[in-house]
């Protein structure tokens, strides 16, 4: 049942030009960033050989790519999530799901899973670029895996927050803007705390960026993974509660 809803959600993204345009735009921007880092790497390659414990190609090309990807997708994810629930409400299709033998939890999980399918597609396209380097050089696959996992968890967290925002309104535009605001706030909430008291502060812990950077460095810490899972779980529960409340009050 969850899968049925997820499949429909995934398909309908590709039935509108939105998904294609997003894939294309993200790919072009990241390809340019990837190309620039490879170029920089070539220029400084000779200097690197003189340094002991010099950073490798994974640190200099792959990690920056994932970092740029996270920022680009911070801006793009709200566009993907904005219509998840708000459009169902606006087009009155929500009543089809609500009067079918499906619980609200299943509806929300189905929609989120559909979004995850798209995130995986996106991630696959992005990861292909650094993987192509393995034809010419040796890569630190563990580090790439850790970075890709970090990017996946970050995007999944963005998506969960966007799903919740989308359940609050029946206007996709408002959902997109408030999602963007929330994500940006959570991304840079540690800006001043980092300079004052370092990563140990509460604000530093709340920031998405702190946890993503740790994974990007290849540090697979359960603390960071637990943060993302709690974040996603929290927003999904909030979304379910929100829809239940709307059924009671609408």
């Amino acid at each position: 049942m969850i899968l049925t809803i997820a499949k429909r959600e995934f398909r309908s993204m590709f039935l509108s030009p939105l998904a294609w345009v997003i894939l294309a735009v993200v790919q072009v921007i990241l390809a340019w960033s990837f190309f620039s880092s490879v170029d920089v790497f070539f220029n400084i390659q000779s200097d690197l050989t003189t340094i002991k414990n010099a950073p490798g190609v994974t640190d200099l090309v792959v990690s920056p790519l994932f970092e740029v990807a996270s920022i680009v997708l911070l801006m793009i994810m709200p566009l993907l999530t904005m219509r998840l629930i708000s459009e169902e409400k606006r087009n009155k299709t929500m009543s089809l799901l609500l009067s079918a033998p499906v619980s609200i939890t299943e509806i929300v999980l189905g929609k989120y899973l559909g979004l995850l399918f798209f995130i995986v597609t996106l991630l696959f396209m992005i990861t292909l670029m650094p993987l192509s380097l393995s034809m010419g050089t040796e890569l630190d696959f563990i580090k790439i895996f850790s970075g890709a996992l970090g990017l996946f968890l970050t995007l999944a967290a963005f998506g969960a927050a966007g799903l919740y925002m989308s359940s609050l309104t029946d206007n996709p535009m408002i959902a997109a803007i408030s999602t963007f605001g929330l994500l940006l706030l959570l991304w840079m909430i540690n800006v001043n705390s980092a300079s004052i008291s370092g990563d140990a502060s509460v604000l530093g812990y709340l920031s998405l960026q702190t946890h993503f950077t740790a994974l990007l460095r290849g540090i697979l810490n359960t603390r960071d993974i637990a943060y993302f899972i709690l974040f996603i779980f929290g927003f999904i529960v909030l979304t379910i509660r929100q829809l239940e409340t709307q059924r009671l009050q609408s």
């Binding site: 299709t93 009543s95 009067s99 033998p101 059924r247």
Partner: protein, 311 residues
Amino acid sequence: MSSLISVNNLTRRYGDFCAVNNISFKLAAGDILGFLGPNGAGKSSTMQMLTGNLAPTLGEISINGVDLLENPKAAKASIGYLPENPPLYKEMTVTEYLQFCGRLHNLNNTALASACDSAIERCGLENVQKRLIRNLSKGYQQRVGIAQAILHSPAVIILDEPTVGLDPIQILEIRDLIKNLGETQGIILCTHILPEVQAVCNRVQIINQGEIVYSASMEDMLRNQNEKFEITLTENIGIEKLADHHVFKSIEVIDEHSFTAESDLTADKLSEYIVQQQWGLTRFAQQQTSLEQIFIDLTTSDKTTLEDNTA
């Protein structure tokens, strides 16, 4: 026969406003219930509560013997619902959409194919099944909505204004379809079109200001109506003189020659009586109190009493 829907003391409040006030009714298999009411009477709220789209403030709903509030998934499996706005995913084709709806109702692949085919055939969608719903006309979109509601052959079908936007021929087709479905399933038909109720339904229920003000089978409704006659005479006989004749219970004068009258006599006895009086009878017609009359009487009289109270 056990009832398909049984609603007990259902109440729904929006803040201080009471949209549905303590209503109870039952629907048996083979019933086609016409659910009538003026705008804002609580029709749609009731339908939304029956289909689990809206949680009731108080009351019980059981669908096909299953409590909707305690066991919503099992109860909703036996409902087919067409809301006022057909819930269509416009970027899908008709077949894709119906397949999705079937899967939502747990139909497996073999059942799904045959259910889709039969729904498409019953709603006359053969020619458009490969087209995007977005590109269909309003009438066809409405029919896709109906197809969606009957797809999984639910025990209860709830249709909210199903014939909106259809052309006269399609309306007749859909009415036939509803009649056919009503032989085996229970149907609730919400509509503003009173002749439609008279043509299709075998029970009528009128809701006004959140309360059920009228509920009767179609036969009872036709039987219990007052006998009213429209009479035209060549002679001008004063109302006082007519009132002396005790065959007339009440008289309403239309003009010098015509009046409407209520009588206990049957049509042939009354006409015979008038002919015997030699008043020069030129026109004699039995007036039927239509559903429309009942509807207007019940839904407007309440308003006047309300105004009296506030005055």
